[in-house]
Symmetry: C2
Subunit: 497 residues, 2 copies
Amino acid sequence: MSAYQQLQQRFKRHGCLEDALAVLHWDTATNMPSGGAEVRSEQSAELEVMQHELLTAPETGDLLAQAAEDGEQLDAWQVSNLREMQRLWRHATAVPADLVDALSRASQRCEMIWREARPASNYAQVQPALQEVLDLTRDKARAKADALGCSLYDSLLDQYEPGGSSAQIDGIFDDLAGFLPDVLPQVLERQAREPAPHQPQGPFPVDRQEALGRRLMKTLGFDFNHGRLDQSLHPFCGGVPDDLRLTTRYDETDFVSSLMGILHETGHALYERGLPVDWRHQPVGQARGMALHESQSLMVEMQACRGDAFLSYLAPLLAETFGGPAEVWQSENLARIYRHVEPGFIRVDADEVTYPAHVILRYRLEKALIEGDMELGELPAAWNAGMKDLLGIEPPEDRLGCLQDIHWYAGEWGYFPTYTLGAMIAAQLFDAARRENPQVETHLAQGDFSPLMGWLRQNVHAWGSFMDTSDLVQRVTGRPLDAEVFKTHLRQRYVET
Amino acid sequence: MSAYQQLQQRFKRHGCLEDALAVLHWDTATNMPSGGAEVRSEQSAELEVMQHELLTAPETGDLLAQAAEDGEQLDAWQVSNLREMQRLWRHATAVPADLVDALSRASQRCEMIWREARPASNYAQVQPALQEVLDLTRDKARAKADALGCSLYDSLLDQYEPGGSSAQIDGIFDDLAGFLPDVLPQVLERQAREPAPHQPQGPFPVDRQEALGRRLMKTLGFDFNHGRLDQSLHPFCGGVPDDLRLTTRYDETDFVSSLMGILHETGHALYERGLPVDWRHQPVGQARGMALHESQSLMVEMQACRGDAFLSYLAPLLAETFGGPAEVWQSENLARIYRHVEPGFIRVDADEVTYPAHVILRYRLEKALIEGDMELGELPAAWNAGMKDLLGIEPPEDRLGCLQDIHWYAGEWGYFPTYTLGAMIAAQLFDAARRENPQVETHLAQGDFSPLMGWLRQNVHAWGSFMDTSDLVQRVTGRPLDAEVFKTHLRQRYVET
């Protein structure tokens, strides 16, 4: 076997361990009794160590060097696969094992303190633990930056968004940050001229919510021969491309969050399902980064399912499912509910227009902290000032400010920008799809997602990790990834209609 | 780290892979959509190969040799753990990889043919494929017999029943085979004198069956913080000691099979739950062979739950659960139903008295086939003659004869005797427990299993694989494993009362 073939074998094993971990993770969230938690942690940790050892074993480095020297005739997919192997290997080998271990422990400790400090709105309580996480994260970033030849922040970003760069993001986010304070008053003014929406009155029985959710999943193209829908505390899309495990949670007083959650996760699932079959368990066959992944969920949830065409399809389904006064289920009324805009303190509750402000703020702050341009002591004030600048509101307490998100406290730095990059990519892809085929949008009014999904599968899903996100966006939409189309989308949906 | 400590680490990894495989297996049977089957096979196969490589890697052999040389001061449990590691290593290294692979493929092929040949009652159709399985199994047995220093058959038996020997089994089974034709007419004669039982009339709603099953699991001592009950086509007890996954299936026309199935699997589960906590993921911490495992399920299902004391507790519960005429739910009537004896062709439908005849027949035939004392062409006739000898009935077709069980066709040779060894051990242990503490039986009338389970946990479960089954039985019951107590039990329950 050639070095490349041996690498394929090693990475297949890595991928099978990843699959097993995905099933264990899903099981933990959906089925595991509480008494199984301790041994489950041990199992998962051991499998993760095995994965890490597979990557960092000297043989892997030797084979990668050998494959590079061999000059074996590889086709374009194999070349990309080898490039992705190298990327994974570089990330895994860059950081010494004791630093990985120390950061993992510090993050767990910090997350536990954060779980108390957040409801108490006590930033000072968690700041020392967060400092430890930040210091170790910067050590990790330094090690990765050396290996990857990039800035500290970009080395962390690359974990979630391969090939991403803060130079690119700065440009896009500055554009968006200039646009939002300008457009938001127009959005709110137009909204104020509309009649107040009729709010649906619950309770909304769980079994009906679930039946509707399943029905819409099928409408979107989810194949229940290759996946399931279950319940968990925190909704997610897990499993593997041939066996996708979606979860949601139900609230009998509010069906919107569960329904939109299911649609969102189905977008993630359809991406995974459409990944190239021939490259299962190989790096090039995996989803290309978190921004593109998020673009697929937002494509479904925001671009398609909050648009007029789909709402006109959804309205009678909701009326049939939940009954009650007819005016509630008119699609114009649903549009007012689903597209309601209101600046608020909490990111996860934010609407499509104000959401990017939350992300831009976090991105700027975490970059400054990682690059050493800011100290943790300055974080609460900087947060509040940023909210004032971007959304015109100031959190009265840190619980509603810099304590709200788990990411930093759990050691996840460099993740935040992918949310808004995803929203912009979704807008850009949806626009390109509609231009190529007007049925992509019009057929949504009949609940027919096949033109949209067919286009996405061919132009996005089937490419796996063959190229970087920016290249894919450029190739598929004919323009570089930027904020223009997203801005147009917001203006059209929230100001001009 | 000493060689022994390094071995502990390797075997911990082996154990964690085993855990992951157990969760995957449970998920396959309970949750997996059909489209996930192919990738699940790949995942499981890869994890199994990793397990096998852990065992057969030269380092493992070197460490075992080193640990033997080291003369490190090990305590008694560590010594037993090392002995079990050696046993696993010997089994894994004895057989060349290409033979393992060939046998696995041949068994899969044969099993597929058998699935068609059985309903068609066409032994000739499957005989060539079975011949291939048998030939390869004999090759495997030869390799293992060389490594273990025992006979061909015993080398296969040792996979399921460590330390078991056909010399011992021959003696016990001959004794039992002499007893059965003598006692069976007495059982049937006594039964004929009894009034015919009132048969409960269904339907028995699934939700009530399930609620009752859960209630009885708790009564037995099953802790739902450390396990679950779900449905699958073939009931089993899976999972891991801290997170046990039981399954059953329900039939609305017959609640007995599901109920007894749940009780049976709960016996298996309580054994796993009681294994020594300090030795999780180490070989010495695992259950000691299939005979002892089966003894724990039969202890619950046969010794305890078909006895008068428990039936007097169960009767009002059944009446409350299913309603209907009172005479059906009297414990004497239940006893007539649950202890009905009738020679039949099918092993899995057999009662407690005739079951051993099915096992003895299979044991004698598989031993002759493995040792080369019989040819596959002779199997159907030998089977039918054996049934005639032992139970006085002759299968009219091979579907009801030598085609009924999956074991041989799937490559599982040497397994059958553990069923009846388990039944005898259960009788012997139950007898010893009652002698030590009469409450073990009397408390069952109040649904109190704690004296029985406390005794089992201390005397059986907590020992894991510390010693061989025969030694454990001798130590705990004060007598060698033999058929005497089981024979007495059958006489007392089926002839003398």
